[in-house]
Symmetry: C2
Subunit: 295 residues, 2 copies
């Protein structure tokens, strides 16, 4: 299969929904503008794509759940806006563009993030946006996504990440940060796709294990790219983790060992798919594609 055109198709569908959903006139205009600015700043849309690919692996047509998949990108985008704030990572650039607070000021940036998180749940509690999905399946997916976002998920990882700046890396803390800050929402994105389709426990569990391993691989690869990538590819100055003394895999294990760890996580992800009798090719190709970014 051609994974690149698979990704591009789904990315386009998700991005079209951003405009549909937030493009209507609304007051105050600057709030919607700020939300759309960050949503439209680019990105691989990997969380929505994971959700769509899992739903499709279960036999669904991804077109039926574009709004719910897009809601995952609302959550990811809110987390980036808040991460970039002066009180957090204090980044001026994100994906090569000025960050939200640089364009709209801190107050509107904080509130645009808050609104994106809220709107994710507006979408995820609206059965009318995906009538092919059984409401109880949608409800289950919404719960999974909420848990991955809160104080036992993404936010816990973000707090630990900030607390651990300038500390000597230790394995336990490093794993905690990666598992929560990045992997939690990636895992939930994959799992939500299976839940939206009403997959069996066996299938949901397998896709959950896939999502978890893929999420960990993703963050290790991101850490590696921060060391070796150039600004044009990663959209922010290379070496910024090192500058902030972030707790990363390369700092803990060096680049070679980190690459090996990423490969192992990807292999774990792919192995998890073997347990289920589904059309998992896009999920598998997606895993290898992500790994390819670091070579």
């Amino acid at each position: 299969m051609d994974i690149k055109s698979y990704l591009a198709d789904r990315k386009n569908a998700v991005e079209a929904f951003f405009g549909e959903y937030f493009g209507k006139a609304g007051r105050p205009a600057v709030l919607r503008e700020a939300m759309l600015y960050s949503l439209n700043a680019g990105g691989k849309r990997i969380r929505p794509v994971l959700c769509l690919a899992s739903y499709e692996a279960c036999g669904g047509n991804g077109k039926e759940i574009i709004p719910y998949a897009a809601a995952l990108e609302f959550i990811h985008t809110y987390s980036l806006i808040h991460d970039d704030l002066p009180a957090m990572d204090d980044d001026d650039l994100r994906r090569g563009k000025p960050t939200s607070h640089k364009v709209y000021g801190e107050a509107v940036a904080i509130l645009a993030g808050d609104a994106l998180l809220s709107e994710a749940f507006v979408v995820l509690t609206n059965p009318l946006l995906g009538p092919a999905v059984r409401p109880d399946n949608l409800f289950r997916a919404a719960g999974e996504i909420a848990r991955a976002s809160g104080c036992s998920g993404m936010v816990a990882g973000q707090v630990q990440d900030i607390l651990s700046e300038n500390s000597e890396p230790d394995e336990d803390t490093l794993q905690f940060i990666h598992r929560h800050k990045t992997a939690a929402l990636l895992r939930a994105s994959a799992t939500a796709g299976a839940l939206l389709h009403g997959g069996s426990t066996e299938i949901v569990d397998a896709i959950d294990r896939y999502g978890q391993s893929l999420g960990l691989a993703f963050q290790v690869i991101d850490d590696i790219l921060d060391v070796e990538g150039d600004t044009a590819v990663i959209g922010k100055p290379a070496g910024s983790d090192e500058k902030k003394k972030k707790m990363t895999y390369p700092r803990m294990y060096g680049l070679d060992r980190s690459r090996e760890i990423a490969r192992t996580f990807v292999a774990d992800a792919v192995a998890a798919l073997d347990a289920i009798p589904l059309s998992v090719e896009p999920l598998r190709e997606l895993a290898f594609h992500l790994l390819g970014r670091s070579h």
Copy 2:
């Protein structure tokens, strides 16, 4: 009826849930500590009480939905933490105590707010926390609350409030701010109670009108208290709206006319209840009790 003991009972039940829900050990400890610090900083718990009183008016037992009512206070508390940030209202005190960013720093304060908002939806998507509630009714209530919180609700009001600082008050903008910043979530709190019980359209609509009028009354009264109250009662320095040139009812209409407007809103709220054949005494008394605060 004794509205004060009615309020105290329900306030206690909601506050007990905060400890139950967030009191367990969790990592990082500072995140849970910051969330609980702000939740436990006091307050009338008016949103949870409204939700409980509406549910009870429909014939339910409030004890069945304490977690869902408490989730409304998670959302209110997150909005206060973010409102108080240096980039927003820059307040050092809230309810007589140092604000979250003063105690935990800005990064943790922002993230504690983010986590509270997320956890509200963790609770509101978990049918196990209120087995007496039909899951589809819970789902409907969660949607109502999400819409009241997002870019067409509370956050819209907050952005407009900040944009309008130092502007000459105009009626349209003033009403927009009050309707969104405060009334939206109060309205949704009342409505959610009826939805959780599966109330008929007629009942949900009447309680919705009640909540909307009560929410508007509430903010006018708050504006009045900010002018005439003393710091001990309102928990923040009196006159802070004036200092920040916030767009308020007293600035627009003066105190006397503002008191009259508050009375009219309360009368509207009470009149909305006449349409429904329910035991609405607590809802009615609650409205008069709020009005009493400004006398």
